[in-house]
Homo-oligomer: 394 residues x 2
Amino acid sequence: MLPKKHLFDIPAGVIYLDGNSLGVLPKGAAERAQKTITQEWGQELIRAWNTADWISLPQRVGDRIAALIGAPEGSVATGDTLSIKVYQALAAALKMRPDRRVILSDNGNFPTDLYMAQGLINTIDKDYALRTPAAEDVVDQITEDVAVVMLTQVDYRSGRLHDMKAITAKAHAVGAVMIWDLAHSAGAVPVDLTASGAEFAVGCSYKYLNGGPGAPAFIYVRPDIVHDVQPALAGWMGHDAPFAMELGYRPAMSTERLRVGTPPIVQLSVLDAAMDVWEGVDMQDLRRASQALSELFIQEVEARCPTLTLASPRDPEARGSQVSFAFEHGYAAMQALIDRGVIGDFRAPDTMRFGFTPLYLDAADIVAAAEILEEVITQNLWQDPKYQTKSRVT
Amino acid sequence: MLPKKHLFDIPAGVIYLDGNSLGVLPKGAAERAQKTITQEWGQELIRAWNTADWISLPQRVGDRIAALIGAPEGSVATGDTLSIKVYQALAAALKMRPDRRVILSDNGNFPTDLYMAQGLINTIDKDYALRTPAAEDVVDQITEDVAVVMLTQVDYRSGRLHDMKAITAKAHAVGAVMIWDLAHSAGAVPVDLTASGAEFAVGCSYKYLNGGPGAPAFIYVRPDIVHDVQPALAGWMGHDAPFAMELGYRPAMSTERLRVGTPPIVQLSVLDAAMDVWEGVDMQDLRRASQALSELFIQEVEARCPTLTLASPRDPEARGSQVSFAFEHGYAAMQALIDRGVIGDFRAPDTMRFGFTPLYLDAADIVAAAEILEEVITQNLWQDPKYQTKSRVT
């Protein structure tokens, strides 16, 4: 099934190792945006909610994402941002365990997940606590006072992979609700939400799903508990009858109750087009290809750049689809690398991060990238003053 | 400065009286989306956050909206949906009045505003009450137990206009916080947020601002109280240093603290292009043109269709930029009208709603629309069975 490089528009001269941050442009996406804007919006105007079926687009896209993460049809709602979806899952989970006061995460979680928890705790204004031990200590801290365990499966810096099934089982054994953030998992590693038994999962679609900058997020709810979910963000698109214009909120009798406001139709259309490239992709095949690429990269970089230190688990089974190297001058080195067409990214304080997306990368790309990295490091090209000034977005 | 019809792509044979629901396509929008998708995303990829200045796009668009609603630069943040922005304003307002327990709105408010209040109350789980008297009784109910008054300035069904300055003054006289929903005001009527003294305002950009389906929302905070705003939705893009990846949330020292997750760059680009048509528009001129169109429409419809009853205030000063007529068979009549190229919309149970957008409508359009409405009503064209079946979106 792989590679599918021909389905993407990749700039000439670029080796893109940052699909874990913003995926590349699928060939059908621009055309789909044009159709949505000029034909549907432009010609159909308000009628397009019916004639172009905009109204069911969030659900249709949700079903396509569901298929990649081991979730049944109708169990994934799309829209908003990942931060919002975290808040929704967390607020609903706390309502399910009213006698408990602990949210357990880890200190490697992506900051916005922790911030949203802090904002929710401040809003509820009761004696909730957010615990953030090191990732390796999380399992031991899943105790009977924990209301909800909220973890990102793949660490955004190191790529370290949590054991979804084992941790969910431990959470359930003590009566806690489980929320998985799949930001770096969806489209990157095989995920089987149904088998995991987790109550909630959330994720974004602009990384491995190639939905474009600011593409909508998604939220999964285990179907058997949908009716126990009390939406904190009780928007009209999550109402059982949005167009009845009732004064009282009645949640939809499905995962759709976790929709909030009017859906971002242009971004959803682009994402829908991006999902076309996943037709026929077997996630196990993808995983094998990803591991082959990352193993090759580690081997090449360690051979060529001895001053770089692997900052990811060495066992490929313990990693997601990215690899990081620590280097004191990582920021400047990454700028020098990008300047030479190899695009990865940097995370403070010293992490050079490289993502592997087998849909549009092959072994030749990896070797070429390692060669250029070798030049940058061994010839100290990163010392050029132009690589020292930090941009607003790193 | 008006009309600016030439700046819009309006379908041939259509008279569009639904710009209060979804504005028409500005000519530059499709091209801008293409540029954002193919050049910025496609070619620059992750670098576009800096090279195409995506990172400041939410703020730049916010400043353009601010200029239309009497708000200073830097006081309007964009992103998310209006429902989300309502929640943010309401949660922050309640934190500012910790000893009070009443949210006052009216029963003509758009349902999602009330739903979001209900969701917030359920999340906080204290003894908050949401009061929703009739719009005309709101002023009398602004009493000293009210924490926050949250009103939509223009009623979505009748077009009835609340007196922003007087109600805000009354709210402040009793020590309540004031939130205005400008969904049907921004780009429709002159708004002077600074003069009103209101603490918060929220709105959407897909109606009179022509930002396209699912365009981002906005939120205004009065500059002198920004530092008192505790964000409930404490997302990383509202953090003082988003890319420092700190574990603890520290809000930005500006309105930007009300941003949440990664901004929807494609939709924001389209909205940014749509804002171009507002260059040189004087909101007082626009208001006069809007009132002339709506007065003409009422006069024409009342003369031609005696079975329709005006369901909006007769005084143009008491209306926003829309006019509604009640008609028992309003749903079918609206379908028949749309079928003949005159696009308005319908709100249960019997409201035929017509919006007036002087940027792309003139008197000839209004007379032609009234003529077609006369045919539909006096010849009972709405009785055709094909107009009786309700669509999913009305």
